[in-house]
């Protein structure tokens, strides 16, 4: 009986089939996926093992193996790619010690990238610098942007995994850490407060979009009367651009901070302090506006006395309105400052007041 022990490469069996062919084909397939330096070494070992198994089976059966039995044995060994991969030094792109940091960074990175993309393209849209077709294209471009961000983050962490395997820093990625430096225990976020925060963020977004759209679509501010105003020979005061863009910047910052505090709820003190800070900045912008008495300026000669009187009345009305708003805002700031001061004096969660840093609470 001819067995695998008698087989040598190239020998033709009674069936006219190259006896080693199926094994050679299998080993050739495994070779394609093996590291180049160790191919011959590994394949020789695999070949010896598979042949030894075949011999064993033939001795047990007392006859030569059929082709189906040889195929079944090789198939049991495993797919060539799977077998070869087990010889790779790095079996995973991102290992278990690095994965938690990767996942954390990926989720936050995608979130930030998405928000930044929407805000940036939203600004282009509301300023009228994009056509409808371009806007639709930008919307459908968002997934590919997110995929690119994910790919870069994955690449960086795969390199970090490779680096930690080469060096000895595995398990020491965060080094020594002190539990005492962790943020204080916070009460479970009130669901109603969270939804209220979401509503506030949406309102801020809508207000920001409206504010950015008004110069291009004045009807959003003046309604149907805009057609009448357009005919007037008046313009806004010369420093209007500075006020407008300062206000825009403040709105954008508010939206971002609100989004971040929604994602990572901060303590009530921190939220109050931030709200107060924004109100003070708003008060600063109001003060800038109130220095201007003539918000609307009549241009060109030939404007009638009636128009000039109307413009004077509008300016005065605006000034008074802004003054009232200023007083209300000042009162509001005083009241919120008082509440914040009381909060700061009173201990939060049993800890001495002021012991929680802004960064620790925010992050």
């Amino acid at each position: 009986m001819e067995t695998w022990a008698d087989v040598s490469p190239g020998k033709i069996t009674d069936t006219g089939y190259m006896a080693m062919e199926i094994l050679d084909r299998y080993l050739q397939a495994v070779r394609r996926y093996l590291p180049r330096r160790r191919q011959d070494d590994i394949l020789e070992e695999l070949s010896v093992d598979i042949l030894a198994q075949m011999e064993d089976m033939e001795q047990g059966l007392g006859r030569s193996l059929t082709e189906e039995e040889r195929v079944a044995l090789i198939k049991h060994y495993g797919h060539p790619m799977v077998v070869a991969t087990r010889y790779m030094p790095q079996h995973q792109l991102i290992g278990p010690s690095v994965f938690p940091y990767y996942w954390f960074t990926l989720l936050r990175g995608l979130g930030l990238a998405g928000v930044a993309y929407v805000v940036a393209n939203g600004a282009v849209w509301v300023t009228g610098n994009a056509t409808g077709e371009q806007t639709v294209q930008q919307i459908f471009h968002l997934p590919s942007v997110l995929v690119q961000v994910a790919a870069w983050i994955t690449l960086v962490f795969a390199a970090l995994e490779w680096g930690t395997q080469k060096s000895d820093v595995k398990g020491h990625l965060f080094g020594d850490w002190d539990p005492r430096l962790l943020p204080a225990v916070q009460k479970e976020v009130d669901r109603r407060r969270w939804w209220s925060g979401v509503a506030e963020l949406i309102s801020l977004l809508v207000a920001m979009v409206w504010w950015l759209a008004v110069p291009h679509f004045p009807v959003l501010m003046f309604g149907p009367a805009v057609a009448r105003f357009a005919a007037w020979p008046v313009r806004l005061f010369s420093g209007w651009a500075l006020v407008y863009w300062t206000m825009s910047a403040l709105m954008v910052v508010q939206v971002i901070v609100r989004a971040v505090t929604l994602a990572r709820p901060a303590s009530r003190r921190v939220s109050k302090a931030l709200q107060l800070a924004f109100k003070v900045m708003g008060l600063g912008i109001l003060a800038m506006l109130l220095k201007v008495r003539d918000f609307l300026v009549v241009t060109g000669g030939g404007a009638g006395a009636h128009l000039e009187t109307t413009v004077m009345q509008v300016n005065h009305g605006l000034w008074v309105a802004l003054r009232i708003v200023q007083v209300l805002v000042i009162l509001d700031i005083i009241w919120e400052s008082w509440k914040l001061a009381v909060m700061l004096i009173r201990p939060e969660d049993g800890k001495p007041a002021g012991s929680n840093s802004l960064c620790g609470l925010m992050w």
């Binding site: 020789e44 010896v48 093992d49 042949l51 060994y77 495993g78 799977v82 010889y87």
Partner: protein, 108 residues
């Protein structure tokens, strides 16, 4: 339920495999005979698992290997290195300790 049990069973066996392999390699073996020896002693191991493991242990300096011709074939024989013997001794002590702890836990 069966899948859960299988996964946990494999994890348990995987944890003991290195110790079983190092113990068997106090005597020289090549891959096939090592696998048979482990299977005969109730520790069957996939060839796809064993060979890469042997390579890894050799890279870590715990095993030494040598190609030799036997029965008209070139075979790679493995045995414990000096470092491997030291590590095996420590692992066996660790195993005894774990075994003892587990017995006390199971007795409760």
């Amino acid at each position: 339920m069966n899948d859960n049990f299988e996964n946990l069973r494999l994890e348990l066996r995987r944890g003991c495999l290195v110790l079983a392999v190092l113990t068997q390699l106090r005597v020289e073996h090549y891959g096939y005979t090592l696998r048979k020896s482990l299977t005969d002693r109730g520790m069957p191991v996939d060839e796809g698992t064993l060979y890469p493991l042997l390579r890894r242990l050799e890279t870590q300096g715990l095993l030494e290997s040598q190609w030799r011709e036997e029965d008209k074939r070139n075979k790679r024989f493995y045995r414990l290195s000096q470092d491997g013997q030291v590590i095996l001794k420590k692992l066996l002590a660790e195993w005894e300790s774990i075994n003892g702890s587990l017995e006390r836990i199971l007795d409760q």
